[in-house]
């Protein structure tokens, strides 16, 4: 079963991350890389991706003539996707364990961020378009 683990945050939260010391950022990234390595070794890794800053986000709608209408104004409380992991696991509980590991990645001073990770199963009614 494929699950996606979504790491989200508000604009304010992202600004906070920019204030972390390089050492804290390195320690955080090292733990995430180590999680990726272990998922690759267990054969559960499908994909992971980090997204660019929310400041680069646009919201697009199609107009009547098909021309895209872009806007970049979002409510302050909006949660932006920061990154995700796609894992292929035997049980939902296993997906929760991996999400727990990501949640425990260290923040400033090495203290676990305990950030919430949203866990969702992929829909099966539609054929996957992934290559």
């Amino acid at each position: 079963m494929k699950y996606i683990l979504l790491m989200s945050g508000t604009k304010v939260g992202v600004d906070g991350y920019h204030a972390w010391s390089p050492k804290d950022i390195q320690a955080h990234m090292a733990v995430l890389h180590s999680i990726n390595d272990r998922l690759a070794a267990s054969g559960e890794f499908v994909a992971t991706q980090g997204l660019a800053e929310p400041t680069e986000a646009k919201v697009v709608r199609g107009e009547k003539n098909g021309i895209p209408v872009t806007d970049g104004v979002f409510p302050e409380a909006k949660e932006f996707l920061l990154g995700y992991w796609i894992v292929d696991v035997a049980t939902p509980e296993r997906a929760y364990v991996i999400a727990g590991q990501i949640s425990a990645a260290p923040g400033p001073g090495g203290i676990p961020t305990n950030m919430p990770i949203e866990v969702r199963r992929f829909a099966t009614f539609e054929q996957s378009g992934s290559k």
Binding site: P54, V59, V60, R61, E63, S103, R121, S128, K131
Partner: protein, 130 residues
């Protein structure tokens, strides 16, 4: 340049589970067709649909490393319904694809004109973060 196109929904959503079978079929056929066009043009990296928000869980690490799961979300929360990752030459091309997805048909075949969030995907973290 890689972009992610995100289709978000509230829990109430577009009421997709209540759509008529014909409307749902037309919607999915439209999406499959869009995916096919993007695959043919070599721009599709991946496309995925997610299960409905009622199956979403929020997970945090407990002190002992045991995951703590919760399934209660604020009413106003936007849920990711699905996404495309495309590899395109310009942001404008990503916006054009997003507009196509936005115009997917809803009940009675009327375009949904749903908002699609478009963001560049990071190529790799800066060296100082590695």
């Amino acid at each position: 340049m890689k972009y992610i196109l995100m289709m978000n929904t509230m829990k109430a959503g577009q009421g997709i589970p209540n759509w008529a079978g014909k409307d749902l079929q037309a919607h999915i056929a439209f999406m499959m067709n869009l995916n096919k066009d993007l695959r043919d043009s070599g721009e599709l990296v991946s496309a995925e649909g997610l299960s409905f928000p009622d199956q979403a869980k929020l997970v945090r690490a407990g002190k002992n490393g045991v995951p703590i799961t919760d399934g209660v979300f604020p009413e106003s929360k936007e849920f990711l319904a699905g996404f495309w990752i495309v590899d395109v030459d310009t942001p404008e091309r990503a916006y054009a694809i997003a507009a196509q997805a936005s115009a997917a048909p809803g009940p009675g075949g009327a375009p949904l004109n749903m908002p699609i969030e478009v963001r560049p995907v990071m190529s790799a973290p800066p060296p100082e973060m590695m």
